[in-house]
């Protein structure tokens, strides 16, 4: 069986340096070790899945990567740079964008404005420019608006650009979060349960979109998902987490056969008998 510490890199990324690397990552909440000795390497255009039973620490890992929590141990390297001194917004500026398990849209803003917030750092005019409406304001806003509509068109959402984000159906809200994350021009996109609450048809089309986003933007995608059909369908590498520890990493087919994974999900035969 593959050692989880040895990275699994898709062939096309073989001679590229990884976009994200976690070494011995861990965090304690008081006496509780939520994540321990987590190692992963993600290459620049890889789609990688993170699975595990409820409470295994998957979202905690996303929160560590985006510095919502500061790790107790270990380091995170983003394109070779240690993110030790970064806070959440720095991490985003350096290239990690994310979505949230419990959707966090700007509900009272329009769909377009949500994406424009994502494009905030792509615009360059200053406070003075906005109050006096200098040419830099008009140019920047026009380019950003066009870019936002272009991004919305990935999910065919450009026609609802003026709707309030909070009024969208659940699936569209999830898709809008992905668009907003893409707007920040990331090199790696973290998706926290993107298919939660979607029906099978929506999940099917989301799978296509995930692949399409990777191909057009040439970015890595790291996703947490419970829908095994989606994980096994789009991911090239899958990492399995249990009780805060990485128990396996491999290709989807390797993971499906791994006895440790089966044990984590279904328990051992002995326990089942008892």
């Amino acid at each position: 069986m593959r050692d989880p510490k040895i990275p699994l890199i898709p062939e096309r990324d073989h001679n590229k340096s990884p976009v994200l690397e976690c070494v011995g990552l861990g965090i304690d909440f008081g006496g509780l070790t939520a994540v321990d000795d987590f190692n992963i390497t993600i290459s620049p255009t890889e789609i990688c899945g993170l699975i595990g039973p409820n409470g295994a620490g998957k979202t905690t890992i996303f929160n560590l990567l985006t510095k919502v929590y500061n790790p107790t141990r270990g380091s995170i390297f983003l394109e070779g740079k240690n993110t030790k001194r970064y806070n959440t917004k720095d991490v985003n500026k350096e290239g990690i964008a994310r979505t949230f398990q419990n959707i966090r849209l700007f509900k009272n803003l329009t769909v377009l404005e949500n994406v424009l917030v994502g494009l905030h750092n792509e615009m360059d005019y200053r406070l003075f420019g906005s109050i006096f409406r200098l040419p830099s304001y008009w140019r920047s806003e026009r380019i950003a608006r066009e870019r936002a509509l272009e991004l919305l068109s990935i999910f065919n959402m450009q026609d609802i650009a003026e709707h309030k984000a909070g009024s969208l159906p659940y699936g569209s809200q999830r898709r809008l979060e992905i668009v907003r994350a893409l707007a920040t021009n990331p090199s790696i996109l973290l998706l926290d349960e993107p298919a939660a609450g979607m029906n099978p048809a929506e999940t099917e089309s989301l799978m296509e979109h995930i692949g399409q986003i990777r191909d057009t933007f040439q970015i890595a995608i790291f996703l947490i998902e419970h829908d095994m059909q989606l994980v096994m369908g789009v991911c090239e590498g899958v990492a399995v987490l249990n009780y805060g520890k990485l128990i396996a990493k491999g290709t989807p087919s390797e993971i499906q056969r791994d006895p440790r994974v089966i044990e984590a999900y279904l328990g051992t035969g002995g326990q089942a008998d008892a």
Binding site: T66, V68, N87, T88, K89, N92, K93, A97, R98, F100, R104, L105, F106, K107, N108, L109, E113, L116, V117, G118, L119, H120, N121, M123, Y125, L127, S130, I131, F132, R133, Y137, S140, E141, A144, R180, A181, A183, T184
Partner: protein, 334 residues
């Protein structure tokens, strides 16, 4: 068919013409003495409270925080402006705008100093800490006899605040905040109100924008304070107590948090009420309170909620309706 839209330059022209007309008409009317002194004085204090409410709306309605020390910033601006004007550093024509600017900047600087520690807190904690700061400012002014005149007050402040100056400041304040809010900076401020964690994950420097919005808010409160000083010509620290902060907050809440038009309307109504209800004497406060209770019961989001009035949007709607009606008539003829 493409929807009818008024182009941006055209919107600016229409709005500026209307504003100029408003200022000129207001100036002529107040100068002519047609309304009488009581009403003239009321119009000026309405203007001052509009600035206070619109600026507080920036940090409550748009930024989504709950500061309770707005009167403190007003006090700083009032004393800074009054001391500047009394010193007579500049000739009178340049003195008025310079004094207002000094007042605004003084309040903004204090806003940044208070904002950096205070804005680390949220909700009721922020309310209490800003309330504390507001009181500290008042107590300091009260005890700084040599500079501020202490509890006895500061006398002989040149009474600059007439309709023209106050309402020019109202317009500048409203336009500046409007322009700020309809830009990437404004969207960043709104995103903090909506969801701070998501805003940060979008690469927005939330601390910077919180402090910036707070400083902006303090800046215009400072200007309003200086106008207040120039209106009555006498300052006593007691004017800027906790109740004044509450009154301003009440205006914002009544008008609808996040609605500039709401703040303007509520400021006009609440500030004018005492004058129009003078005949009712002591029943006045009961009616005032009842009105607030009724609004909060039937429209908890305030008079206008988060709706903001746009003249151009209204015009567009009317013109579109006309176009639609005309094309229907044509179809009928065909």
């Amino acid at each position: 068919m493409k929807e009818f839209r008024i182009s941006m330059p055209m919107r600016y022209i229409i709005n500026s013409l209307l504003l100029v007309a408003f200022i000129v008409a207001g100036h002529l009317i107040t100068q002519s003495g047609l309304l009488g002194r009581a009403h003239n004085a009321n119009i000026v204090s309405v203007g001052i409270f509009i600035i206070l409410a619109v600026s507080l709306n920036l940090s409550t309605g748009y930024l989504g925080q709950l500061p309770l020390g707005h009167a403190g910033f007003m006090a700083i601006g009032a004393y800074a402006g009054a001391i500047f004007w009394r010193s007579g550093l500049l000739p009178s024509t340049a003195s008025v705008p310079a004094g207002l600017l000094v007042a605004g900047l003084a309040a903004a600087v204090v806003g940044v100093i208070i904002g950096i520690p205070a804005l680390r807190l949220k909700g009721d904690y922020l309310a209490i800490i800003t309330l504390g700061f507001g009181e500290i400012i008042r107590v300091i002014i009260n005890n700084l006899d040599s500079v501020t005149g202490g509890a006895g007050g500061l006398h002989g402040i040149p009474r600059h605040s007439n309709f023209l100056i106050v309402y020019l400041c109202v317009i500048i304040c409203c336009i500046a905040i409007h322009m700020l809010m309809k830009s990437r900076h404004g969207r960043a401020i709104l995103s903090i109100r909506e969801n701070e964690i998501a805003a940060e994950s979008c690469g927005i420097n939330t601390t910077y924008y919180k402090v910036m919005a707070f400083a902006f808010s303090a800046f215009f409160a400072g200007i309003a304070g200086a106008l207040f000083a120039g209106n009555i010509g006498l300052l006593v620290p007691g004017e800027f107590d906790f109740m004044t902060s509450i009154n301003i907050l009440m205006i914002v809440v009544l008008g609808g948090m996040g609605s500039m038009a709401g703040s303007v309307i509520a400021a006009s109504i609440l500030t004018s009420l005492p004058l129009f209800m003078a005949a009712l004497n002591e029943y006045r406060m009961i009616i005032y309170a009842l009105m607030l209770i009724i609004v909060m019961l039937f429209k908890p989001s305030g008079l206008l909620g988060t709706y903001d009035f746009s003249l151009s949007r209204l015009l567009e709607k009317l013109i579109r309706r006309r176009i639609a009606a005309k094309s229907k008539v044509k179809e009928g003829e065909a």
